[in-house]
């Protein structure tokens, strides 16, 4: 049987090279009736834009469950773009108005959790706005480039340096993070 060798330690140069070669992975949810057609128009008019975007076609921006956006990050996206019809132009009349509320709240929520605001973008692009589409994509790709690879779901390393002090010292951090429950257990219990 062949022995599996340990992977050689990556040298610093190699890591730097990897960093240089890093391309952002961006997932874009486009509504079928406006933004997808807009992207199509950009294609047929041979407008050039950054290719790091993966397009997923959805019937309406109202179909974009916030879970889609979160799931994209979990599955390795570095950034997400959601695009739909301008208000008033929705194929289903009001889908994008409902979507607008959901997106505003989701954006505030995950930014509160500490997500970089450069990773999550929303836009209105109509079927006639091929050039706006290329502009939006370039802006999004640039922003995600600046934010760098998304490592938010890598396990944190606990050390004295990563100890976080919150204003009110809300809860214990680091390795003593279970101290809370142990403390409670010691305070109660039958004799």
């Amino acid at each position: 049987m062949k022995k599996i060798k340990d992977k050689p330690q990556e040298s610093e140069d190699l890591l730097l090279e990897k960093d240089r070669l890093w391309q952002p992975r961006i997932v874009a949810f486009l509504c079928n009736w406006c933004s997808y057609a807009g992207a199509d128009l950009a294609g047929t008019s041979r407008i050039k834009y950054n290719p790091q975007i993966r397009i997923i076609r959805v019937p309406c921006s109202g179909r974009v469950n916030p879970l889609f956006i979160l799931r994209a990050f979990i599955d390795g996206a570095d950034g997400v773009l959601v695009s739909g019809c301008h208000p008033g132009d929705c194929h289903y009349s009001t889908g994008n108005y409902f979507a607008r509320r959901k997106f505003a709240l989701l954006k505030r929520l995950i930014e509160f959790c500490g997500m970089d605001e450069r990773r999550i973008h929303f836009s209105w692009v109509s079927a006639a706005e091929g050039s706006k589409w290329s502009q939006v994509v370039n802006d999004v790709v640039n922003a995600v480039y600046q934010a760098g690879p998304f490592t938010g779901f890598d396990l944190p390393v606990f050390s004295k340096e990563t100890e976080i002090e919150t204003p009110a010292d809300l809860c214990k951090q680091g390795p003593e993070r279970f101290a809370y429950s142990i403390d409670l257990m010691s305070r109660t219990g039958k004799k």
Binding site: L106, L109, C113, F153, Q173, S181
Partner: protein, 305 residues
């Protein structure tokens, strides 16, 4: 007043006007040093001889509205429920979402001057965060259920002194939001990593009544079920998002969490956001439309390119 109530409830139970009373009862707990203390727990009474178990004191922190949507109590006829003024909001949200029939409910409205913060049966020795908010915003020392919402109003305040105030979560919120985003992310990473996925927060929440929760779905499996960082993060963001515009800030989720995760921090943020963006307060009025099933033409869209 409590005695009047008990006689009335006994009559109603024997005559069959109500099928069950859900209220607060006393329980004994043993401390580590061998001493005994008294706390309250929810009691479900369907015989008139049991009614004397009901109590009303400053340990009555639980939000009993949670039980109204549970399968077990849907069949038990008209339910008499002990409701603090803050719990009424939860009833309003359930009414608004057509989850309960107000006619099947006999509301015993309590007059409250704050309850103790409690964690897994242990007193924290100060007022619960929601009470600080409630009493500060009204500027009064007690809160009352108005008679047009409750079927019967108990006007006596619970015995005993007011506990000291302690800290309020929303004062933490401002400082927390001033931290740089990497620190905030690291903070939640540490918090969510603790989560056991016991779903106690979900069970205790009056608004989490879905028969099939998205966290239990396996086809497709949106949210990983094992308690690792990715699954936990998604679970907590989804939990907070599903409660946006519905959470009434009763603090039950945080109270029951065995790992001490500060869930109210994230809930309070969303309560404030909803108020700030749309001027919407959940549970204010049973007639209003739910937040996400309505829109205005001029909703904020400054964040959309």
């Amino acid at each position: 007043m409590m005695d009047d109530l008990k006689t009335r409830l006994k009559e109603m139970l024997t005559s069959g006007a109500i099928g069950m009373v859900i209220g607060y009862g006393q329980k004994e707990i043993y401390m580590a040093d061998g001493s005994r203390e008294y706390r309250t727990c929810p009691v479900f009474l369907s015989r008139d001889t049991e009614i004397d178990r009901l109590v009303w004191n400053r340990h009555c922190v639980q939000n009993l509205v949670t039980y109204l949507t549970k399968e077990e109590y849907k069949e038990s006829g008209k339910i008499a429920l002990m409701v603090k003024p803050c719990d009424l909001k939860a009833i309003h949200v359930l009414e608004q979402e057509k989850q309960i029939d107000r006619k099947r409910l006999f509301i015993i409205g309590l007059t409250c001057k704050g309850v103790m913060a409690e964690k897994m049966g242990i007193d924290e020795g100060h007022l619960a965060g929601k009470c600080i908010k409630c009493l500060d915003s009204s500027g009064k020392s007690s809160a009352v259920c108005t008679p047009d919402e409750a079927d019967i109003v108990i006007e006596t305040l619970p015995d005993g002194d007011m506990p000291p105030k302690g800290k309020d979560i929303s004062s933490d919120l401002e400082g927390f939001e001033k931290m740089p985003s990497e620190k905030r992310w690291a903070f939640w990473q540490n918090q969510f990593l603790k989560c056991l996925r016991c779903y106690a927060c979900r069970s205790a929440c009056p608004m989490c009544y879905c028969e099939q929760c998205i966290c239990d779905m396996s086809r497709p499996q949106w949210i990983d079920k094992s308690p690792h960082l990715k699954g936990n993060f998604l679970f907590h963001i989804v939990r907070a998002f599903h409660l946006t515009g519905r959470c009434v800030g009763c603090g039950e989720c945080e109270r029951v969490c065995p790992m001490g995760i500060p869930l109210m921090l994230i809930n309070q943020k969303m309560i404030d956001t909803v108020k700030d963006l749309y001027g919407y307060e959940s549970g204010k009025d049973p007639e209003q439309a739910p937040l996400l099933s309505q829109f205005k033409m001029d909703d904020d869209q400054s964040f959309i390119k």
